[in-house]
C-alpha cells in the first residue's frame, strides 16, 4: 500500500491493486489512507527553502485584484444625490466596466487554456492506459497461441481445490491463469517465485497480484528470468502486501517445468 501511495507501483501491479480497491475492501481502503499520510510526511525530508519576495508580490497582486472583483460584483446601494458631476460618474462607470471586462476576459482565457491542457493530459493518459492494456493483452494472446509455449500445471495444496496453469514462452514471458481462486488473507497478495535448479540457490521473487471479484486470476510476467532453463519449478505463495524478497510461507500452488 505504501508503494501505491508513493506512486512507485508498476502499471500492472497498480492496475491489479486498483481493481481490488474498486471492490470496496474496507481494510485495504483504510490501509491506503494510512499509507497516504505516511508518504505525505516525506515532504518534510526536502530541505526548506524560501521563495523570492517577488513571488509573494505577484501572488498577492493577483489575489487582491480577484478579491476586489469579487467584492465589487456584490450589489451595493448608491447615494441618492451626489456632488460629483454625472459625466465623471459615467467615466468611472465606463472604466469600471472596462476593467471588469478585462479581468473577466483574462480569467476566461486562462480557464480555457487550463481546460484545454486538462483535456489533452486526460486524453494522453487514457491513450497510454489503453496502449498498455492492449500491449499486455497482445502479449498474453501471443504466449497462449505460440506453439513453442510450454504449459505447466500448478497443483494446489488441496488436491480438490482450484488449480492454476502457467503458459511459459522463453522470449515473450509467462501467463499464469486460474478460475475460482479465493482471495488471499487481508493485507496479503499472491506472489510468484522461480525455483532454480541449482542446489541451495534462492527462489527468485516475481510478480504479485490478486484474483478479481469473480475469482479469475491472470498474471502476466513480461520479464521472466533470462534463462528459464535454470528454473526447475514455479510456485505461488501468500505474502504480505508489497511482496517479499524470499518466500515466507508454504506454496499455495506449485508445479515443475519439464
Amino acid at each position: 500500500m505504501e508503494a501505491y501511495a508513493l506512486g512507485a507501483l508498476d502499471p500492472e501491479e497498480r492496475a491489479a491493486l486498483e481493481t481490488h480497491l474498486a471492490t470496496g475492501c474496507p481494510n485495504c481502503a483504510k490501509a491506503v489512507e494510512e499509507a497516504r499520510w505516511l508518504v505525505s510526511q516525506l515532504a518534510y525530508a526536502a530541505p526548506e527553502a524560501a521563495p523570492s519576495d517577488m513571488l509573494k508580490g505577484r501572488l498577492m497582486q493577483t489575489v487582491r485584484a480577484e478579491a476586489q472583483s469579487h467584492s465589487e460584483a456584490k450589489p451595493h446601494v448608491m447615494p441618492a444625490r451626489s456632488i460629483i458631476p454625472f459625466w465623471l460618474w459615467a467615466a468611472v462607470a465606463a472604466l469600471f466596466v472596462f476593467s471588469l471586462y478585462s479581468t473577466w476576459n483574462m480569467r476566461r482565457l486562462q480557464d480555457e487554456i487550463r481546460q484545454s491542457n486538462d483535456r489533452a493530459a486526460a486524453l494522453l493518459q487514457q491513450r497510454q492506459k489503453a496502449e498498455q492494456q492492449l500491449a499486455a493483452a497482445k502479449r498474453e494472446a501471443m504466449i497462449l497461441m505460440d506453439p513453442s509455449s510450454v504449459k505447466v500445471s500448478l497443483a494446489g495444496q488441496n488436491a480438490e481445490g482450484p488449480h492454476l496453469e502457467a503458459i511459459c514462452h522463453s522470449q515473450l514471458g509467462i501467463v499464469v491463469m486460474g478460475e475460482n481462486i479465493p482471495m488471499p488473507s487481508p493485507h496479503h497478495v499472491f506472489q510468484l517465485w522461480f525455483i532454480p535448479k541449482a542446489p541451495g540457490a534462492k527462489p527468485m521473487p516475481s510478480m504479485m497480484t490478486w484474483p478479481d471479484a469473480n475469482g479469475k486470476f491472470v498474471m502476466l510476467v513480461s520479464n521472466p528470468p533470462e534463462s528459464m532453463e535454470a528454473t526447475k519449478a514455479l510456485a505461488i505463495t501468500e505474502e504480505l502486501e508489497g511482496g517479499s524478497p524470499w518466500p515466507t510461507a508454504t506454496p499455495r500452488w506449485s508445479g515443475g517445468l519439464n
Binding site: 505504501e2 508503494a3 508513493l6 506512486g7 512507485a8 507501483l9 508498476d10 502499471p11 501491479e13 497498480r14 486498483e18 481494510n27 483504510k30 490501509a31 489512507e33 494510512e34 497516504r36 499520510w37 505516511l38 508518504v39 505525505s40 510526511q41 516525506l42 515532504a43 518534510y44 525530508a45 526536502a46 530541505p47 526548506e48 527553502a49 524560501a50 521563495p51 523570492s52 513571488l55 509573494k56 505577484r58 501572488l59 498577492m60 493577483t62 489575489v63 487582491r64 480577484e66 478579491a67 469579487h70 467584492s71 487550463r114 491542457n117 486538462d118 493530459a121 486526460a122 493518459q125 497510454q128 492506459k129 527468485m204 521473487p205 516475481s206 508489497g242 511482496g243 517479499s244 524478497p245
Partner: protein
C-alpha cells in the same frame, strides 16, 4: 491497524490553519497571506527538491497557492489536516511538470489539476509543530540505510516506479521493492514512536 491506534476520540482543537481556511472561503486576503507565510517555505522547498530549478519551482508554487485561493471550498478541513493535503497537491504538480519536461511516458492516476485525496492523519499529527516534525522526518530518513533512502527519494522526489528505480540503480527489482518497503516501515515506526 497502525492508524487505528492513533484515532482521536476526544475533541480536537481548532488549528490555526483551519481558522485561516474558513476565512479563506470568504475571500479574506489577509488569511491567504498568513497561510502563504506559514507554508510557502515547506511547499517551495519540496517543489525545488523535485524540479531543481528556482524559476520553474516558483511557477508551480504560484499555481498551487492560486489553486488554493480559487478553490478553497474543495478542501474539507473536517476530514484531515491541511499541510499533507497541500504538500500532496504541490508534489503532484511538480512531478507533472517534471514529466512534461522530460516527456517521460508513464501511467499515472493523478490529473494535472485534480485535487489530491484528503489525507487522514493519526492523532499525534497535531502533537508536533512543523519545525519538530521536519526535524523528526529528516532524522528518521538519515537513519535509513543509504540504499533505502536513495530508493525512497527516487520514488518520492522523482516519481520513479519500482522498475525505473531498479534500472537506474542497476539492482534486482525485488531488492528495490524490499528497500522501499522496509524503509517506509522504519519511517512509520519512527513516527509512531514520536508520540
Amino acid at each position: 491497524m497502525f492508524l487505528a491506534a492513533f484515532t482521536s476520540t476526544g475533541p480536537r482543537e481548532v488549528s490555526p490553519d483551519a481558522t485561516l481556511l474558513s476565512r479563506l472561503l470568504q475571500k479574506d486576503v489577509n488569511a491567504f497571506e498568513q497561510l502563504y507565510d506559514r507554508h510557502s517555505r515547506l511547499v517551495y522547498g519540496l517543489v525545488l527538491r523535485i524540479l531543481q530549478q528556482a524559476s520553474t519551482s516558483e511557477e508551480v508554487v504560484q499555481d498551487v497557492f492560486l489553486q488554493l485561493w480559487r478553490n478553497a471550498e474543495q478542501y474539507d478541513s473536517s476530514r484531515g489536516p491541511f499541510v499533507p493535503w497541500l504538500c500532496t497537491m504541490a508534489r503532484n504538480r511538480a512531478l507533472d511538470q517534471l514529466r512534461l519536461k522530460s516527456e517521460r511516458q508513464r501511467r499515472r492516476e493523478d490529473q494535472p489539476d485534480e485535487l489530491p485525496p484528503v489525507v487522514v492523519a493519526p492523532d499525534y499529527e497535531k502533537a508536533l509543530d512543523e519545525k519538530r516534525r521536519a526535524e523528526r522526518v529528516r532524522s528518521l530518513m538519515a537513519s535509513l540505510t543509504p540504499q533505502q533512502k536513495k530508493a525512497i527519494e527516487l520514488a518520492y522526489f522523482e516519481g520513479l516506479s519500482h522498475s525505473e528505480i531498479a534500472a537506474a540503480l542497476q539492482e534486482p527489482l525485488g531488492t528495490v521493492k524490499s528497500w522501499i518497503r522496509n524503509g517506509l516501515l522504519r519511517l512509520k515506526k519512527g513516527l509512531q514512536a514520536t508520540t
